[in-house]
Amino acid sequence: MASAQSNRLAKGGLIDRNAPLSFTFDGKAMIGYAGDTLASALVANGVTLVGRSFKYHRPRGILTAGPEEPNALVELRSGARREANTKATTAELYDGLDALSQNRWPSLGFDVMSVNSLLSPIFVAGFYYKTFMWPAKFWEKLYEPAIRRAAGLGRTSGIADPDHYEKAWAHCDVLVVGSGPAGLAAALAAGRTGARVILAEEDRLAGGRLNSDGGEIDGMPAGEWLAGALAELEALPNVRIMTRTAVFGVYDGGTYGALERVNDHLPVPPVHQPRQRLWRIVAKRCVVAAGAIERPIVFSGNDRPGVMMASAVRTYVERFAAAPGKRLALFTNNDDGWKTVEAAHRAGIEIAAVIDSRKDLSQHHRALAQSGGFAVHNGVVVDVKGGKTGVSGVEIALANGGSAQIAADVLAMSGGWNPSVGLSSHHRGRPKWREDIAAFVPEGAPAGMLSAGAANGDFSLSACLRTGHEAGLAAASDLGFKGRAGKAPAASDEAISISPLWHVEGRKKGFVDFQHDVTASDIALAQREGFESVEHLKRYTTLGMATDQGKNSNVTGLAIMSELTRRSIPQTGTTIYRPPHVPVAIGAFAGHHRDENFHSVRLTPSHHWAAERGAVFVDTGLWKRAQWYPIAGENDWLTSVNREVLTVRNGVGFCDVSTLGKIDVMGKDAGAFLDRVYINAFASLAVGKARYGLMLREDGIVMDDGTTSRLAEDHYFLTTTTAKAGPVMQYLEFCRQVLWPELDVQLTSCTDQWAQFSIAGPKTRDLLREIVDPAEDLSNEGFPFMGVREVRLRGGMFARLFRISFSGEMAFEISVPARYGDAMARNLMKAGEPFGVVPYGTEALGVMRIEKGHIAGAELNGTTTADDLGLGKMMSKKKDFVGRVMAGREALTAPDRQVVVGLKPVDKARRLRSGAHIIPKGAAVGPDTDQGYVTSVCHSPMLGQWIGLGLVERGRERIGEIVRAHDPLRGEDYYVEICNPVFYDPEGGRQRG
């Protein structure tokens, strides 16, 4: 049963009374109106207790009406969409909204953890650094779990976020952040000149404090002027207004991060629509008109529900027609607080009293008190009476030494205003203290950024309008826009007077950081213990580390510290302002890059064909490669792989090897270029020949290997490993563009342009003859090992044919334009049917390469030299090459280096595993006897046992030695024999046959 909106004012407010919305808070059903926030609806329903603080679990109410809210955080929504720590003050009300209070158990009214509040004499700032040390094991087992359970705020769902997020770019000349009077004036001025303007407003409505404070602009009521200004901006084609969009960070080069809450005001985003959108706005200039945040005063009981920022009271009354109480007292040190009394009085709320810490009362305020029939006390609030659900009265210490008690159910407080200097300080600018307004203003803002209005310390409406206009105009004219900006909107000047008051000594706790329960006495303790630097203060007490990031508390905290240390506020300094200025959902930064779409997928030319055949795929980088092709009756991978290997070794098979990196190296100096990047010679390679090449990094370590062919005098076709295709291309371009621009050579990546298949096995020629034009000579004489040439296929198409072999069998690689890859796979399958052809995957490929002792990624691990890999002899002694000099360093040529060898278990039935370490037989296991490890393994159907390659100290001198394969991780320890890494056909006769 919905409760009545007991505190809803009879009229006014920017709410739609014809659109009632039902919602629940802690299971209790209530009604609000369209236009409400959750907080304003709670206020309208007379709810005062909404949350519990972080450390002491103290009862808390709503403090503010904006994104800086530290207290009124809720778990919004339920199920997978449950979001923790949502500020009731910014959550737009929708029909069916459900919210739970958080950080309490079992209920908000009765929270067991509020016992912490009783222990607060011990639980002072940093108490945990001084205890929980004994016994040592108790930390993880007892103390920490208890602390972790008590800490934290809301609960996440623990379920994948069902909503979508997207990312977008926007570009403009002038970005205006904030659409209050200053922002509107800036957008109007810049927009009128013709500049492309984006006006970003965090709120649902443009207008900023105009929606709460009203006033008169250009002779009309603020609301009327606002409507006109928005209409003009909307009519300008060069201006874009983005509401519900918070600019949260300034990055380099005029890049601004912004979050648009596209559908957070709905229960569930409409189909195919994102919940939120992350904007990267590139702006040549930026006008920050983000306003200011009113700051609390620290006094006993200032955290009791019912104590509210004066400006927030005004917002609830004026914008939402919701009365935070029936009898209001104001505690202020400045003129602005008085506006709350005016607004409340207008709305028919009884004014109990104004407590002003300043001695002199203005004529205007005196008259106001008279007409309102309330007392004005020169003094301070020393205590707030009441219970956990609200205020009943305040105790005042009068400046004249007396005291007074006042009955009230809401206490509005105003300690002055802090300009929003977050964005302007994101590039480590340190804000400047202005004594006249007792506040920091922007200084050292990022290039191209101006601040205007309250964000720059210009608090009055007239100053906001004027400085906003000036900033918008300055930004646009700086960019050369010359259109007429018109006149600045005008309002009458108001008095802005403040006399700083940070902290009132009292008997009980006075809170500086509400959410984190940092009190004035905590700051004193920190100072006493030497944590005087503001950064130490923050870290020791957690001041400013809550979800509001100190927006309510930082300046007050450092002001109190400055009083304690007798340094000035500017000497005391501020902590560093970091993005994001408002917290942003992690999902928004990720956008669509999650689940299967985390990274893109690269498919080989034969992928769809392979998928049709039921291939099992494996991720290699971004590629999906066929790992093996099971056939009917095969239930385990090893059976399939063994069959594929045996078929290749005895008949013929083919494998899509298109993922290898391919680079065309062309030009008069292509050979000379390759001579420099490979350790072996390529300039001397004959046209129509291929050669295996190895390249080193400049530090002498092997970078990559591959087969490179000479297709013409000035055209080489270079291949890289799959993993290094990108890095090698980048490296070669560096060599070409930076190191040796004088060489006449061009590089073109063509990895994606060619489909390439390895066809291997003794029946390769039989199969190829079905594919290739019969006129082509494929005999050993007509197409010798390592030969390369273009051939005509049956049907007239051309293909490149390379007689190279990774498997050790008689083999060719055939290469056709990628779009014919699928057809080629089907053709090979069909033409090979009489010869029993099989497609084989990366597993069989791997088996055959290990049987042949070929190195791959596990051996090319970025720490091995050419000699480690058994390829030292390839290093040319007749020419210079990259890596030559550094490869000669003593530790890289030491005789005891780990080098590639073959390994096979002595017990033939044993499975060998990669990652097992090599320990000499009979030696104790330890770091000194760890002599290497197994790099690659396979089950060799040819040898009928598991075999592998390994890197073993002095391995080549130890062929035949029996050593231990030590694998404690998997509880295994067995003997293996060190052997020649070429297990199969060591003479290499098969590939030349």
Partner: protein
């Protein structure tokens, strides 16, 4: 950061890959006869490969536009502020210069 590629226009830095200080110059390729290199080459390469000025301030750096035209760029950038003063193409970047010497 926004980098104004001379070929592609202004792009965000995510499209680019950084290599590092553009000041060190690779010792020249030398003629090799039976394995002997140039005198002092070990020290010269140590300096080239490993030592850095690592300024806090303006540096001249190599960047690669891998997400665009694959050009290597020489960028003058301030490591304290990330401000970019100039961007120019490496000597061999851009269109083929037939017979370039």
């Amino acid at each position: 950061m926004r980098i104004a590629c001379p070929f592609c226009g202004e792009r965000e830095n995510g499209e680019f890959t950084y290599l590092g200080d553009a000041k060190p110059k690779r010792p020249a390729m030398v003629a090799i006869d039976g394995g002997a290199g140039a005198p002092g080459e070990a020290e010269a390469f140590y300096d080239y490969v490993y030592l850095r000025d690592n300024f806090a301030g303006e540096m001249s750096e190599y960047w690669y536009h891998g997400g665009g035209c694959r050009s290597w760029l020489v960028i003058e950038r301030n490591t304290l502020t990330h401000d970019i003063k100039s961007v120019r193409a490496a000597p061999g970047a851009g269109a083929a210069k037939a017979g370039a010497k």
